[in-house]
């Protein structure tokens, strides 16, 4: 594999380290355009050059123009928000954060604002392949999916795992994204090692979008589609970050917390950047530690939960020595970085990109100048696929029985999609699902006690990081809630339901299909989501005819 890749961004050649995503190339191109170093031979060299260039770095970080003309850049970093869309080789609306940079790629930013001339080089080869039918199909290659795959394969099942993330970042899900070569924790190393010892087929960079009939799913791949037949299915679709709209949250430079980490893991330059990490949940500390390790200057970690909640959380931690060790290790890595509970962003400002964020703490506000606000308000289960398949979903989580079996007998669900619970719960649920799907209920039963313990911890976690009511007052009349369609808070206030908002304001009608704004309106207005229809993720028209 070559060390660097040269591609075209808006007609100019840009060299990026191999393994970078297109989003990284766009970010590098825009930042390099105001600084001298053009060639970056490796991630660290690039990072150093960029750190040096920071003082003169005034270019807005533009990926696309929104429907009202705002400049936008990646938010979620994991292929959900569609803010990173660019045109790649004539294919408009391509998610640059999930597509690996490749030699000779022609990337154009800002599509959607002008006429779209679809060039013929968009005519990608029509590759449609049925997979060798697996007994067990697992959707999602995060910890739950990996654990399920290992236990099922060890039990003699033919297992296929499908995942949206590119092969350079997956398996691993978001928490272990791009961790396989150099695992970030002993736990990750152990599971990756174990994965090597079993025979599991992986399909990367593929998104399931439809279920034409029971026992069959369709997925879109980079250059075609594939049909997946299965006897049993395990959904390990994980979670996404929840975002709470506040004035300025659509500025380039405001990203998810896990979002910025995911981007950085794909080579996005963070070295030397001044970053405020904010929102809620244990993820904030992990993100801050990672960014710091990559050379970022983490100015502050702002946790919206109050001290009193965190103290109670601390008491629960004591019951779990492994979690204490993690916390202590994080604390050490974050020495010198202020951690403020009861603190949250109220607005972000900047001319075309983030320049400063206003934080509230203890009734007072202060302004912090920064390059990035990495901001996620806890997590939300990804339940769309479960809904498509026909599993019962209640209160935003997939209903499962003691064997992680959903309301459909041949469909199991494990990990965050059954309720946010963190890494250890995902691993144990994944194992139970994998064993149960392989018919080894007795083995699965042995893990029930561990799951009970982890679920208790999850309950504490969810209570501790419950969002405070004040966050509902953050949006002003003009604050955009739906970023795909630029629908303001004021317009939504006049609606009475999610469906009415969709019909009358176009809220949720863009490519994220309401994954970002639906969560926000659920928090702000208490609207439940509406019915789920194929394609459950945007897909090329040709793939809908398969």
């Amino acid at each position: 594999m070559p060390e660097t890749i040269t591609l075209q961004i808006n007609g100019e050649s840009v060299m990026v380290p191999a393994g970078s995503m297109v989003s990284t190339a766009v970010a590098l191109a825009q930042q390099e355009s105001v600084s001298s170093p053009r060639v970056s031979k490796g991630l660290d060299l690039a990072a150093a050059a960029l750190a040096h260039a920071r003082a003169t770095d005034t270019q807005p970080l533009g990926f696309r123009r929104s429907v009202t003309g705002e400049t936008r850049a990646p938010l979620c970093g994991m292929g959900i928000c569609f803010e990173c869309r660019v045109t790649i080789n004539g294919q408009a609306h391509s998610r640059s954060c999930q597509i690996p940079a490749a030699a000779g790629q022609n990337v154009v930013t800002d599509c959607g604002a002008t006429d779209c001339e679809l060039s013929d080089d968009a005519a990608t080869p029509d590759s449609r392949f049925p997979t060798p039918d697996s007994q067990l199909l697992i959707v999602g290659a995060g910890p739950a999916g990996i654990a399920a795959a290992i236990r099922a394969a060890e039990s003699g099942q033919r297992v296929t795992v499908i995942d949206d993330n590119p092969a350079s970042a997956s398996p691993g899900g978001q928490i272990w994204r791009a961790d396989q070569a150099k695992p970030s924790s002993p736990e990750a190393r152990e599971w990756f090692e174990r994965l090597k010892s079993v025979n599991v087929k992986f399909i990367h960079e593929a998104r399931i979008f439809a279920q034409p009939e029971a026992g069959c799913l369709l997925a879109e791949t980079a250059d075609g589609s594939c049909e997946l037949q299965f006897e049993k299915l395990i959904l390990a679709t994980g979670a996404r970050e929840r975002f709470v709209p506040f004035p300025g949250w659509t500025l380039p430079g405001v990203t998810g917390a896990g979002g910025l980490q995911a981007l950085a893991k794909s080579g996005w330059p963070v070295a030397g950047k001044r970053i405020v990490v904010a929102g809620s949940g244990p993820l904030l500390m992990a993100v801050a530690a990672y960014l710091k390790k990559r050379g970022a200057e983490v100015l502050l970690i702002a946790e919206q939960a109050a001290w009193s909640s965190l103290m109670r959380f601390g008491v629960e931690l004591i019951r779990q020595p492994s979690k204490i060790a993690q916390a202590v290790s994080l604390k050490k890595q974050l020495a010198g970085v202020p951690y403020w509970p009861g603190c949250w962003p109220v607005s972000a400002k900047g001319d075309g990109k983030l320049e400063a964020v206003t934080m509230r703490r203890g009734g007072k506000t202060c302004e912090v100048e920064c390059d990035y606000l990495a901001c996620g308000f806890y997590l939300l289960p990804n339940i769309e696929l479960a809904g498509l398949v026909g599993c019962e979903v209640l209160n935003g989580v997939v209903t499962v029985n003691e064997f992680q079996q959903t309301s459909l007998p041949n469909v199991f669900c494990a990990g965050e999609a059954t309720g946010i619970g963190g890494l250890e719960l995902s691993l144990v649920e994944g194992q139970i699902a994998g064993l149960a799907a392989a018919g080894r209920e007795d083995e699965a039963r042995k893990l029930f006690a561990e799951r009970t313990k982890q679920r208790r911890f999850a309950e504490v976690l969810n209570r501790t990081f419950a969002l405070r009511e004040e966050l509902k007052t953050l949006p002003t009349a003009e604050t955009l809630v739906c970023r795909c369609e630029d629908v303001s808070f004021e317009r939504l206030q006049r609606q009475t339901s999610w469906r009415e908002a969709k019909l009358q304001t176009r809220c949720g009608m863009g490519p994220c299909q309401g994954r970002i704004c639906g969560a926000a309106t659920d928090f702000l207005f208490g609207w439940g989501m509406e019915s789920i229809r194929p394609p459950v993720f945007p897909a090329r028209l040709e793939n809908l005819t398969r």
């Binding site: 779209c116 009608m509 299909q513 194929p534 028209l541 005819t545």
Partner: protein, 386 residues
């Protein structure tokens, strides 16, 4: 509570009727089981198209198109009205004959229509496939986003004193008023059933059937499609009244999105006007993969480059179909219960004409066009749908 008129249904037809009656000074109530424009109004394509399957169909669609054009400046931005014109696409010489027949028909009746040869068609719509024979451009046709249009009519009616009851299912409709499911009776001098394909539930024994359609919408690709495109191939493949069928129909939306249709299927008998549990699509509204595939294949056949465009959503809806392809506008067999339904795939176009004709009848005004062909009491002959 007593009103001059109670209208059941706040789809585009009910909304337009409310607006028309309120404008005429009547005390109007609108009762809607769900929300404004949430049924076929939300599901349909939103075309404003003059059709010529019969003189009566032409008269109503032509009147309606003129009413829409007159209203264009008053419509709110979010009604996304654009006068993009319709392009009837001819694949071969036989269909070109139809283009010329159609042009003659429209021109004799004062509607501008322009014949395009193969080259002119390719210039007007560069993303259509090569080798088509030509087309007919009807420049004054347009498209709109109907749910916001319906809201506009309702709000205008309200500003003229109309009362609107949303989320109130009607369980009984008589010539004296409407009874809600909570027992409330809303009295009126006359009532209008404008509940689309659900109309037979309130007014039994009317000849309206549910006809299911599928639609697909893409992400934004501005100027990829410029006119509303409709194939003339249905002449051969035929949207027959009794069998399932598909036809190529693509529409440019003001957003730059492309709306792709169309399919026609008689839906299985099922009566449930209110949506079921959140998160689940009612059985009869679910996507039918085989017909969706046929519909998309047809679209890609006409416009190969559509294949690579990103699709955001697919959905279904129900047209209210009558055997002779004409709507029911006028008094039903029940004294003072009026009907404004049966618009099949033309409800957005003909909503304005329907409202005008219904008010003309009720108020005994000189009718804009003859209303006899649309009276519910007319004898009905089966006619193929386009």
């Amino acid at each position: 509570m007593t009103f001059d008129v109670v209208i059941v249904g706040a789809g585009i037809v009910g909304a337009a009727c409310a607006d028309e009656f309120a404008q005429a000074g009547l005390r109007v109530a609108v009762i809607e089981a769900g929300q404004i424009g949430g049924g076929a109004t939300a599901a349909g394509m939103g075309h404003i198209t003059v059709m010529d399957d019969s003189e009566a169909q032409f008269a109503l669609t032509n009147l309606s198109q003129q009413l829409w054009r007159a209203l264009a400046d008053e419509l709110p931005q979010d009604a996304e009205y654009i006068e993009c014109g319709t392009m009837w696409v001819a694949a071969d010489d036989e269909e070109m004959d139809e283009v010329r027949r159609k042009q003659a028909f429209y021109q004799q009746r004062g509607l501008p229509a322009e014949v395009l040869d193969a080259k002119a068609l390719a210039e007007a719509e560069p993303n259509l496939r090569d080798g088509l024979a030509g087309g007919l451009r009807v420049p004054q046709d347009g498209v709109t986003y109907p749910p916001c249009g319906a809201r506009f009519f309702i709000e205008r009616a309200e500003s003229r004193g109309a009362e609107v009851f949303l989320g109130k299912p009607v369980v009984e409709l008589t010539g004296k008023g409407a009874r809600l499911n909570d027992g409330t009776f809303i009295a009126a001098g006359l009532t209008v059933n404008a509940t689309g394909s659900w109309a037979p539930e309130l007014t039994p024994n009317i000849n309206v059937q549910k006809r299911k359609g599928h639609l697909v919408i893409t992400d934004r690709y501005p100027n990829f499609v410029r006119h509303q495109l409709i194939e003339l191939g249905y002449l051969k493949s035929a949207h027959s009244i009794s069998t399932d069928s598909v036809a190529f129909n693509a529409q440019p939306r003001k957003t730059g999105q492309i709306l792709i249709g169309s399919s026609r299927q008689y839906a299985p008998k099922q009566t449930n006007p209110v949506a079921t549990a959140p998160g689940s699509v009612p059985a009869d509204k679910q996507i039918d993969p085989p017909i969706l595939r046929r519909m998309i294949d047809r679209a890609i056949e006409y416009m190969p480059r559509l294949a690579k465009l990103s699709v955001l959503r697919t959905w279904t809806g129900f047209r209210a179909a009558t055997p002779d392809k004409l709507p029911l506008i006028g008094m039903s067999a029940i004294e003072n219960v009026y009907l404004a339904t049966g618009h099949e795939g033309l409800g957005i176009t003909t909503s304005l004409g329907t409202a005008r004709l219904l008010a003309d009848q009720v108020l005994k005004r000189a009718p804009a066009i003859s209303f006899e062909p649309y009276l519910p009491s007319r004898p009905m002959k089966e006619h193929d749908h386009a």
